[in-house]
């Protein structure tokens, strides 16, 4: 049994692509924050890769089996944050294991798992009863995170659940209806935003109005990107980065550093890697044998795609400033760990697909 447990090699294609991407990220990180940050990030990547490796050893049926427990567990952690968060300063830092992990991060995986679990045995597209159950599962998770309050994560977490519903084959009429409803509810949503969130949206629409704070960040980021040109200014040669004009170089704005120093060519390489990873994951999802595996792999991939889009859009001034890191490139432990864990689920599905046929 123990021997078998360590015999599943994660999908080499995906693994190589992920390592290329993270290696590329470390090169940029060196320029943004120096060797100390690179060393620390390398340790986190190593941790994340071992997590990926171990998760690969677990049969996907086990995830399926334990999904309700994982989901209820993460909801309980959210509730705990909700109750203790008032008295304990820093409600977000729930689990401090050297790297702080927020329960809301856990939801980014456990929520799509739960929705996929709800749909696991029913005929697809699911009927309204299953859709209602899925909506409740999404609503509880997203609602609790919204109350923290963390609107951005709440929207992303609901998106991860909604992607499962989309992949489950729900009719296009519903999707169109949902989109129209969403557009119409924007003014209502505006009422629920906190003052600082409205500020950020307004700044996004008119960054020049606030050249010292959020607007300043975006202006400086655009200058960094634009001045990079096609080939870039060269590694560690970016004046915006090195002279400290660019905010938060190593975390949310690391793509600005990449754009400045490696130019449009560097951006093309990055997106090429991202596209290949997404393609490979979609392929694994399509090959998967059970409904649960398919839906989960597909949704996790789509969420990965959404992160890339939000971050790349934000720093180039086409989306409002929301604190979303660039997946597997930005400096930071939590995001790397959750992402590699979710890739672990995907590689597990890939490694165990043959056994299911037997």
């Amino acid at each position: 049994m123990n021997k078998r447990f360590f015999t599943y090699i994660p999908d080499p294609v995906l693994l190589v692509l992920l390592m290329l991407l993270m290696g590329y990220g470390l090169v940029v990180l060196y320029s943004a924050g120096g060797m100390v940050l690179v060393e620390r990030q390398a340790v986190r990547i190593a941790l994340g890769l071992s997590a990926l490796y171990f998760i690969t050893q677990i049969r996907p049926e086990r995830f399926e089996q334990f999904t309700p427990i994982i989901y209820v567990g993460s909801i309980m952690l959210l509730v705990a944050v909700f109750f203790f968060g008032i008295s304990v300063k820093g409600a977000q830092r729930w689990l401090d294991l050297g790297i702080s992990i927020q329960p809301s991060e856990l939801c980014k995986i456990s929520l799509p798992m739960m929705v996929a679990w709800i749909f696991r045995h029913t005929a697809l597209p699911p009927n309204w009863k299953y859709l209602l159950a899925a909506a409740v599962a999404i609503g509880i998770g997203a609602g609790l995170i919204y109350k923290q309050p963390d609107l951005g994560t709440s929207i992303l977490v609901s998106a991860s659940g909604i992607f499962v519903i989309f992949l489950a084959g729900i009719s296009w009429k519903f999707i169109l209806g949902g989109l129209v409803m969403g557009a119409l509810s924007l003014p209502v949503l505006w009422q629920f935003l906190h003052e600082y969130q409205r500020q950020r949206v307004l700044m996004f629409l008119n960054p020049e109005a606030d050249p010292l704070n959020y607007g300043w960040n975006i202006i400086q980021s655009k200058i960094a990107i634009g001045s990079g040109g096609f080939w870039g200014k060269g590694w560690t040669e970016g004046s915006q980065t090195q002279l400290d004009f660019l905010p938060e170089h190593s975390t949310d704005f690391i793509l600005s550093v990449l754009s400045e120093e490696f130019g449009f060519f560097g951006v093309l390489v990055l997106f090429f890697l991202y596209t290949l990873i997404i393609l490979r994951c979609f392929f694994i999802a399509q090959q998967a044998k059970t409904t649960y595996n398919r839906l989960l792999c597909g949704a996790l991939t789509l969420i990965f795609f959404v992160y890339i889009t939000i971050n790349a859009g934000m720093i180039s001034g086409v989306l409002p400033v929301v604190g979303v890191p660039l997946p597997l490139v930005s400096y930071g432990g939590t995001s790397v760990l959750t992402l590699l864990a979710s890739f672990g689920i995907i590689t597990s599905v890939h490694s165990h697909k043959k056994l299911i046929q037997q």
Binding site: G226, S227, G229, T275, F282, T291, T309, S316
Partner: protein, 609 residues
Amino acid sequence: MGRVLKQPFQEKKLFTERIIVSLIAVLVTFTLLLGRYFYLQVLQHDKYAAEADQNRIKYSRINPTRGLIYDRNGLLLAENITTYRLEVIPEQAKNLSKKLLALKNLIGIDDEAISEINEQLKYNPVFKPLTIKPKLTEQEVSQFVVQKHQFPGFEIKPYLIRKYLYPIELSHLIGYVGKISEAEYDRQDHSIYAKDDYFGKTGLEKYYEHQLHGIPGQLVTEINAQGKQLSETINTPPVNGTHLDLTIDMQLQKAAYRAFGEETGAAIAVNPNTGEILAMVSKPGYDTNEFINGISQTNYNELANSTEKPLFDRSIKGGYEPGSTIKPYIALAGLYHQLITPESTMFSNGYFQIPNQARRYHDWKQGGHGQVDLINSLAESVNVFFYDLAYRLGIDNIHDFLKPFKFGQLTNIDVAGEKQGILPSRTWKQANRDMIWFPGETVITGIGQGYFVITPVQMAQALSILASKGQINPLHLVKKEHTTSALPFAIQPHHWQVVHDGLTAVINAPNGTARAIKEDDYLIAGKSGTSQVFGKSEEDIYKKNEELPKHLRNHALFIAFAPIEQPEIAVVVVAEHGASGTKAAAPIAKSIITAFMQEHPTLTATNNE
């Protein structure tokens, strides 16, 4: 629930279709995003390249200078002085850990500090300066400067640091500043506070933090394309913190601290006509200057574990029974409720009994005081008189009468950390002890014992109301327009007078308990009290205070005001474990009043006629 049968092939087809749609969405989105980057990096490149080239303006903060603190006569109590700290920018330093060891002898940092620096280095961004030692002596500065070429990346930086000129005498009152904590920073306006600011941690520094801090200005630095600084201009100048003018008289404060000698405790002197606090001491004090850049663990432990509890601010946090110092207020309550008159007398035979109960409540004098009136009851501190009066008043009347005097209430004095204490009542006991009130508890309330927990500042507020015959002048430490209000009940002038007369007799009558501190030049009124210390063993209870170890002796209390015709100073003294109010606390009160009178000779002159 009837389950619809799955149709695997159809479902797989449906899923594949969705994956293809998703893939198209990904490709379209990425193409649009790349289009945006292409637009910025290729089409608009010239524009942004020019902007980056011209990007030479950086904004930084100019720290405001913290407001100074003066005493009532303009004497400087807290200032800011220039100090030097050693910083390092980790990415510019070579062989950092070796260099740190080399610094050990040069500027005197110990292993504990080095391991702490190594810990901080893990979390410090490499381009951000990290403080190696916050406070360098002149000698250390010159020693380092000579060797500086060996330490690239290390820099000596001047900065302003708080300095307290009377740290021991004013340690609790002024308090101290320290580096702002993460939790404190989170709650502040980030346009005003920076992460390395100083922040008031205790006392006035905490209470008046926002006035003292000031508003930072903005510095505009122009740099060239290589990052070299070309010019510096002040965009907006900082608004320095406001100075605080205290009501404290530093001479009196020092005298009060000195008056304690070896004793520990608290003393507060106020002007009853204005509520201005002239002196407020909690002894022992400690050196607040040590706390500004973080005190070493050894020194802190020494302070924190000291049996004398120097860190504890007794003046606003110390809770004591008022003991016999409550008697003048009980007398006033009796007069107000017409249970006694200024002329009432009673016979003290040595003990009081509640009708139909066996327990005896004793006088402090064996055999009693004989026939006594109100004035003599105060002068001799006759317990039986007040047992009887309290019993007849009842706990509700006592509670309602004492409350506006601020016993067991926050006085809202302008310093951080005041504790509320306890004014006993039926409701309090029900809520906190879950028991009904017993009549015997009313009896001992009459001599200030039982559930009372009263702070010295509350006693001072009450005494100020008593001395000014009913004016409520809220106590304060920073000069301001004072507001006077009246008690919610009107007490007749001759009632105030008889209580004043009784307190005058305490010191000036031949039978007064505190006749030892009688003054010839002017008349002082006062009252002693004893605050019981609990935790004695069975056998210790019957010992005399002098036979007990110091920490089990009772606390000594004394309240006093002078001159009696028009009181200008009211003093509350708590001498911890002083055993006897008249022996331990009264002399301290006396020397505070003497110091005050020597400063204001005109006050004594009127009485010499």
